[in-house]
């Protein structure tokens, strides 16, 4: 298999009469052979543009793309041997599933008829399409379409596989099964893969490593645990995690705690100089309602979901509400007074000005 490397990759869109737009501003990425990297970011962050540049569908403004150590930047899309599963599946409506798969193989001469059929049958078996080979795309479910689209990208035996929002058009039930399938297939075949998505759940569950992207710049690269446990900055902390992390601005006091309001002081995981403006980040799942010690808070709302509840609390004098994940057995009433405690080891503290994590 093949490694993929991006070196200082850039893309600037220029159109007459409008200021140029820097969609991708110097991306460095290196994927090990067989690795699945999730490129995660909000829409408009440049992740799809990056994917299209790797595939050769978009010209490159600067930097280099190396597949297996060789620069492919001067090659057209036809000569890069990169497979893409498009977000909207891009299946050819008049052709059956089998014909759709064969269509890609027929582009290159030298694929004998028997070869084409053998390869189609092989990939259909791998991706579990054997029962629907004679169906047309219009008659398939979204999950099946996604699998066909994946098979279509894989049947040519590409060096690198690119997945563009593969699960975004699936309903919840199909998403779960397709996600498991996707992981199994990628493991089985061992393709070096980039998964582009705006859905953190998709990235966290599928990717070996995640690159979080914003405004054309990669904010952090790491394993899902690294991203979740020590977010590099406020953006990453806020973007990853559901319900979203609590971000509370405060000032560091002389005893090394963060003063969120006159009566609310929070211990910090690392020593920070006194007087520094910080933002304290605590995930809702790292907060707990306690009996006695802990900060006094008032219940603003409680959504009792089945497996857990989400409580919104107001801390005395603190403007931002505090979201806490509660156990399923917890019953809370509106305006009830509770005490809440944070696990200091799992608390993050960011510089208020730069947004960077303080370590």
């Amino acid at each position: 298999m093949t490694e993929l490397e991006l070196r200082d990759l850039r893309k600037t869109f220029r159109s007459r009469g409008r200021p140029p737009v820097d969609a991708v501003r110097g991306i460095d990425l290196a994927l090990r052979s067989g690795e699945l990297l999730g490129l995660l970011g909000p829409s408009g962050c440049g992740k799809s543009t990056t994917l299209r540049m790797i595939a050769g569908l978009e010209s490159v403004s600067g930097g280099d793309i190396l597949v297996g150590g060789t620069s492919v930047i001067d090659r057209p899309a036809q000569a890069r041997n990169i497979g893409v599963a498009f977000e909207n599946y891009a299946l050819y409506p008049p052709l059956t599933v089998a014909e759709n798969l064969a269509f890609g193989l027929k582009a290159r001469r030298g694929n004998a008829r028997g070869d084409v059929q053998r390869k189609v049958a092989e990939i259909a078996d791998r991706v579990d399409l054997t029962g629907i080979l004679d169906a047309r795309p219009a008659g398939l479910s979204s999950g099946q379409k996604q699998r066909v689209s994946l098979a279509r990208a894989l049947v040519r035996e590409p060096d690198v596989l690119l997945l563009d929002e593969p699960l975004s058009h699936l309903d919840a039930a199909q998403r779960d099964t397709t996600r498991r399938e996707l992981k199994r297939i990628q493991r089985d075949l061992g393709h070096t893969t980039i998964l582009v998505t705006h859905d953190q759940e998709e990235a966290l569950s599928l990717a070996d490593r995640i690159a979080v992207m914003k405004d054309g710049v990669i904010q952090q690269i790491g394993t899902p645990y690294e991203i979740y446990d020590s977010p590099a900055n406020l953006f990453v902390a806020d973007f990853v995690g559901e319900p979203a992390i609590n971000l509370l601005p405060g000032t560091v006091t002389d005893d090394g705690r963060a003063r969120l309001s006159d009566s609310v002081h929070l211990a910090l995981p690392v020593p920070v100089t006194q007087g520094r403006e910080v933002v304290v980040g605590v995930r809702p799942e790292d907060l707990s309602l306690t009996g006695e010690d802990g900060l006094p808070a008032r219940v603003v709302a409680h959504e009792p979901l089945l497996e857990a509840g989400v409580a919104t609390l107001a801390l005395d004098g603190v403007e931002r509400p505090l979201v806490v994940l509660t156990g399923p057995e917890v019953r809370l009433a509106h305006d009830e007074q509770v005490r809440v405690a944070a696990d200091t080891r799992l608390t993050h503290v960011f510089d208020a000005e730069t947004g960077e994590l303080l370590r």
């Binding site: 595939a55 050769g56 569908l57 057209p76 899309a77 036809q78 000569a79 890069r80 990169i82 497979g83 893409v84 498009f86 977000e87 909207n88 599946y89 891009a90 299946l91 050819y92 409506p93 008049p94 269509f103 890609g104 193989l105 582009a107 290159r108 279509r152 990208a153 040519r156």
Partner: protein, 276 residues
């Protein structure tokens, strides 16, 4: 409630019937006229001895007017104009749907302006040009000038068909190793077939019905039915029965074409490759 619904339905039916009478009356009048013998032409009663004599005369060339040739001319010129427009217009429509290049919008607008500028504004210079170039009263000349009618139609309608196709279909083909040309011929073109059928029919009808260009730019050799049918009105006595017969005969090709192509027309109007 039910009664009210039925009453409304009946009223709607009545309105439709009135409209049909209004729309179909001229055609019925033409049919009657074409079946009347010459000596009963101006009788105001509907009782007359029907005869196919007018049709025989028109098709039989007996009045010294070569109607069959006009008919063939119309076919050659209209089909030729549509084919040429497809040949030039499909690539143009595709290019303008997929790429924005310098002046592309201006070019498209210019093309459209051929449709909303009245033909009469350019007919005199065209007449002079055609006389000098030797294009007057020729098939080539007529097919060429009809591009003003058929080309904008085909380019603009096909452009929206191509624009409706998601570009990913062609991009997937490129990634498979197909060339741009192959992506166009093997992926994009087959998907817009219903559109091509629909727009060809429309273009054919417009070309067939065109009156001003053949009136001024042809005299005999390349004259079409629209002008030719009027020849029966000349002479000492206007022969309305013959004109009516000629007009009705000239309705046949567009009508047949519309009926055979109807299937595609419906698909052409409700087409979408990828729902998103």
């Amino acid at each position: 409630m039910n009664l009210r619904k039925r009453l409304l339905g009946a009223l709607a039916d009545l309105a439709l019937i009135l409209y049909f009478v209004f729309a179909l009356f001229p055609i019925a009048w033409m049919v009657i006229l074409s079946l009347k013998p010459a000596n009963q032409l101006f009788s105001t009663y509907f009782s007359f001895t029907p005869t196919l004599g007018s049709y025989r005369t028109v098709l039989g060339d007996s009045e010294g007017i070569p109607f069959v040739r006009f008919f063939v001319n119309s076919l050659v010129v209209s089909v030729g104009a549509v084919l040429l427009s497809l040949l030039v217009g499909l690539p143009a429509a595709y290019a303008s749907a997929r790429w924005r290049f310098k002046g592309s919008e201006n070019l498209m607008f210019t093309l459209l302006s051929f449709r909303f500028a009245p033909e009469l504004t350019v007919i005199i210079p065209l007449f002079v040009l055609y006389q000098k170039l030797g294009l007057f009263d020729t098939y080539v000349g007529m097919i060429w000038v009809l591009q003003l009618v058929t080309l904008p139609l085909i380019v603009w309608i096909m452009r929206s068909y191509f624009a409706d196709l998601t570009p990913e279909l062609e991009q997937a083909a490129l990634l498979d190793g197909y060339t741009r040309k192959q992506a166009f011929f093997k992926v994009a073109l087959p998907l817009v077939k219903p559109g091509i059928a629909a727009v060809s029919l429309l273009a054919f009808i417009f070309a067939w019905n065109n009156f001003v260009f053949p009136l001024i730019l042809t005299s005999n050799e390349a004259q079409t039915v629209t002008v030719g049918a009027l020849s029966f009105l000349g002479g000492d006595r206007p022969k309305y029965n013959l004109t009516a017969a000629a007009a009705l005969i000239s309705v046949v090709p567009p009508l047949l074409l519309a009926l055979t192509i109807q299937r595609y027309l419906v698909r052409g109007l409700s087409f979408g490759a990828v729902k998103s």
